[in-house]
Amino acid sequence: MDQFLQHLLNATMLGGTYALLGIGLTLIFGIMRVVNFTHGELYTFGAYMVFFFTMTLSANFFLALVFAMVLGIALGAAIEFVLLRRLRGASIDTTMLVMIGAWIAMQNAEQLAWTGVAKSVNHPFPVDPLVLGPVSVSWIRIFVFCVAVLLIVGTHLLIHRTRLGKAMRSTFQDRETAALMGVNIDAIHTATFALGSGLAAAAGALLGPVFVLVPGMGDMAALKSFAIVILGGLGSFMGATLGGFLLALVEELGAGYISSGYRDGMGFLIIIVVLIFKPTGLFARKERIG
């Protein structure tokens, strides 16, 4: 029972960042219908930026986190503007192939810049975990969880309480009508991609101090993001959030009770199972029949 509680706690701590990844991708995938292969690379980028600021520039840890996220937003906007803009009408194959090209280029550029040697980021929190009866949790994880929740809430407010969010939602529901009503679809696309990328970068920045940094770390993050989006239903904010926690839970329990080797595989199994049995996901919004 204690073990189970520990797993539950670990899953909750991790689930917050997974939710960030999922929300970021569901926005991009949902509004732009782009299979964003660079999502994982933004995650990696966020982590390496924190590394760069704290370890190389010796900047303040919290400031580094903020910078990493802001740079992630900027990079996302740049990718959308440079690569995706002119592919607006193109087939899904073309867009996907361009994204794959960008993903390869980015990951290897990161490899060139930071080498493949695993790096770690120092953080200002005490190393000894906080012990709460039968379970324990490290301070950094608590911090990460809190920031993740803040970001989730912030994004939710952005989407539901601001004009930008309203424009994004209407573009998701019915692109043509939104355009007719005066929504600048180009700008929305850039904003969406930037926001989604920023969230991925934030996830990376937050998890960087928790795990080690290697250039390939984004791949798993990307695939888990897709698993979360599919689990939660395309375009569903709530679905992505809950999906993130659910995936973390399935991973923790799977690693704990079945085999840790298959831990990362849990995400894939979820993808396959959900797509076969309930392709619209657990919390899918109703799509309008055109």
Partner: protein, 351 residues
């Protein structure tokens, strides 16, 4: 390409080992050849049928592992007391087994793809390949996991006891790969030029229209997937008995990406495309080896892919062929000369 050119080309290819003494170059060609076979098979699914299958390396690896395991023999501890023992089989049988098993998984993917289309299908296929990789990595009992299966027997030709040729050296393997390549090409060319191929292309171009005239989408997708997977499995088998060692890294996504790059830059939906792409990306790494690190190369490939998708969206082969047609003065399809007078009127030609 007309028949003379084809024959010349074939003679040239068959003659290579006779004058290319550098074994290393021969090795490059063999590996490129294996990749070309895999790329051609991917082209059938991706280029002709328009299905974005990004898990293709799974079929390659499954073919390779199956062939390796069947030729080595294996035993599985099913319970504490009972082990399932599979005795080693001759390599040709193993090779065929690899093709059949890969084809079976192709059938599975084909069936699933009907339910799950578009971007979701891409994700399913990627996930499938990753799951297979994790299984290969973790099911150590069967696959030796990261320790790899080694000492895989090479191909042998001949009658045991009387005369045998063992494909240990590069030259026999080169010919084996070349012949398989040609066979695969012929299979794909015949399929694509037939009514089934027309239907596949119709599916890719305009699925509602195709289905409205009776094209059975599921059956066609499954067919394309099975043939595609089987050929990829053959490539995997060739690889495994040439390199004679196989480990779970063979399932890495980067190899699927390599195949996709070959098909897309060469020209998806054309017969020559994957060959051109395969040659370029099989040989380019060697050319760049001195000048750029592997990472740098990949950055270049990634950028190259983006550039080609932008400027030559159909790939190199179609671009070359329309440039060629343009130079020869506008022959070929699409150049029906309009009459000097009024445009043809509908209904003026009576039945």
């Amino acid at each position: 390409m007309n028949r003379w050119a084809t024959w010349l080309w074939l003679v040239f290819l068959f003659s290579i080992p006779l004058w290319m003494t550098n074994q290393y170059y021969l090795h490059i060609l063999i590996i490129a050849g294996i990749f070309i076979i895999a790329a051609m098979s991917l082209n059938l699914l991706l280029g002709y049928t328009g299905q974005l299958s990004l898990g293709h390396v799974a079929f390659f690896g499954i073919g390779g592992y199956t062939s390796a395991l069947v030729s080595l023999g294996f035993d599985l501890e099913l319970t504490d007391r009972y082990s399932f023992v599979f005795p080693a089989q001759p390599v040709w049988i193993a090779f065929l087994a690899g093709i059949v098993v890969a084809g079976f998984f192709g059938w599975l993917i084909g069936k699933i793809s009907f339910k799950v289309r578009g971007a979701y299908f891409v994700i399913v296929t990627i996930s499938f390949a990753e799951v297979v990789r994790l299984v290969a990595l973790n099911w150590i009992d069967l696959t030796e996991g990261p320790m790899a299966l080694n000492n895989i027997p090479p191909f042998t030709l001949g009658v045991p006891g009387l005369w045998e040729l063992t494909f240990l050296r590069k030259i026999p393997n080169y010919y084996l790969v070349l012949v398989t390549c040609i066979l695969s090409y012929v299979v794909i060319a015949r399929l694509v030029g037939s009514r089934l191929g027309r239907a596949m292309i119709a599916l890719r171009e305009n699925e509602p229209l195709a289905t409205s005239v009776g094209v059975d989408v599921t059956r066609l997708l499954v067919l394309a997937a099975v043939v595609s997977a089987a050929i990829a499995g053959a490539a995997g088998g060739l690889y495994t008995h040439y390199i004679r060692i196989i480990d779970p890294d063979v399932f890495m996504f980067i190899y699927t990406v390599t195949m996709v790059i070959m098909v897309v830059t060469g020209g998806k939906g054309t017969l020559a495309g994957p060959i051109v792409g395969g040659l370029i990306f099989g040989i380019l790494p060697e050319v760049l080896r001195e000048v750029a690190s592997p990472e740098m190369q990949w950055v270049i490939y990634g950028l190259l892919m983006i550039v080609i998708v932008y400027f030559l969206p159909d790939g190199i082969v179609p671009a070359l062929s329309s440039w060629w047609k343009g130079r020869s003065g506008g022959g070929g399809a699409g150049a029906a000369a309009p009459g000097p007078g009024a445009p043809p009127k509908i209904g003026e030609e009576r039945a």
